[in-house]
């Protein structure tokens, strides 16, 4: 396993465990605490794929793989532009 895959696997495991704990605690509890825990689980999981692309861009840029680093930056920019366009268009 490459150091990047190892790094990503470690962080993914940490986020999955934290999200699972937050969601489980959110299901057991009620009221504002439950809402906060459930939201935290969603934010953790939802942010991870995008953060993974950003981490890839940084790692590839550092390794001198500029073409794919640029592609990763373009992808994140395209996604952000898409969110803004669709939100405004709606």
């Amino acid at each position: 396993m490459t150091s990047l895959s190892s790094f990503l696997a470690k962080w993914t495991t940490t986020v999955v465990v934290l999200a699972a704990l937050a969601a489980s605690a959110g299901v057991i509890t009620s009221g504002d605490i439950a809402h906060t825990l459930n939201t935290a689980a969603l934010v953790l999981l939802g942010a991870l794929p995008v953060l993974r692309v950003i981490a890839l861009a940084v790692s590839w840029a550092r390794a001198g793989d500029r073409r794919y680093a640029a592609a990763a930056v373009m992808l994140v920019s395209l996604m952000a532009a898409g969110v803004v366009m669709v939100a405004v268009w709606r």
Binding site: M1, S5, A9, L48, P49, L56, A71
Partner: protein
């Protein structure tokens, strides 16, 4: 149905659909959303839960797939550029084609993809005995890589990228129009058009559908359509399902993964037609 029974049912459905979804890189939303609507939920309520299921299943499966070196991130980023551009166009054009026509079109695509995977025999990429475990992974500056098949290292090199990315953009338009994740189109395109090994295609698609679903979920959250209490139930089921699906994928041969994917695609086509 009591609240407890309803909660257990949502967790169980998320578990089963995420297991199947991460096994073949299809995502589970296209199965989970119709199943949820058989109860008292509307499609508008079920759709965000489908996205949550895809994200949680994708992230959970990612742990095993990253350790196995099965994800080709460079391939994912390049093809996702086309797919994301297509999704934006599709979302903007949504509503311009009737739901019925779109659903039959999606069902036809799913059946074609199922046929493509089921007809092909054998394994396209052969193990290279000269390669060791340290060679597993993707290559610097290239879309090629080496993946692990049982205890052997198998080199691969995707082809027809221009055609593949163009088709990914069209798949993106279709998924944007229909509001589905698109894994059931991306995985067959990656394996049958761009000739990625079935396991690498499934693992890479699992990553990209999580990315697309994150963006779509953010848009739904802006619209106030995400019910966090139900989402937490889906997170629990999908994390367990995604983990199990990715572990099963590790032990199955490529032809078995292809046939299982073809079977699920056929089920998806039937579900789509029934829904229409």
């Amino acid at each position: 149905m009591t609240d407890l029974a309803r909660d257990v049912l949502i967790i169980a459905l998320a578990f089963v659909t995420s297991t199947v979804g991460s096994l073949g890189g299809l995502g589970g939303a296209i199965l989970l959303v119709p199943l949820l609507t058989f109860g008292d939920m509307t499609i508008a309520e079920a759709a965000p839960l489908g996205l949550v299921s895809v994200i949680a299943g994708s992230v959970a499966a990612g742990r095993t797939q990253l350790r196995d070196g099965a994800v080709n991130h460079r391939f994912a980023v390049v093809t996702e550029l086309g797919a994301t551009a297509g999704v934006i166009v599709g979302v903007i054009l949504a509503g311009s084609i009737s739901d019925r026509v779109l659903t039959y079109f999606l069902a036809t695509l799913a059946l074609l993809a199922a046929g493509g995977g089921a007809i092909r025999k054998g394994v396209r990429w052969k193990p290279d005995p000269s390669l060791g475990a340290d060679s597993i992974g993707e290559h610097h500056g290239s879309l090629s890589g080496v993946y692990r098949l049982n205890d052997q290292a198998v080199p691969y090199q995707p082809t027809r990228m221009g055609l593949g990315v163009s088709l990914m953009a069209i798949a993106g338009v279709v998924t944007g129009l229909a509001g589905v994740g698109g894994g059931f189109l991306k995985t067959p395109l990656s394996s049958e058009v761009m000739r990625l090994p079935a396991k690498v295609a499934a693992a890479t698609s699992t990553f990209t559908i999580g990315l697309t679903a994150s963006t779509a979920l953010l848009l739904m959250a802006i619209d106030g359509r995400v019910v966090v209490s139900d989402s937490a139930l889906v997170v629990i089921g999908s994390i367990v399902g995604g983990t199990l699906g990715s572990r099963l994928q590790r032990y199955l041969s490529p032809p078995v993964v292809r046939r299982a994917t073809a079977l699920v695609l056929t089920v998806i086509a039937v579900v789509l037609v029934v829904r229409a």
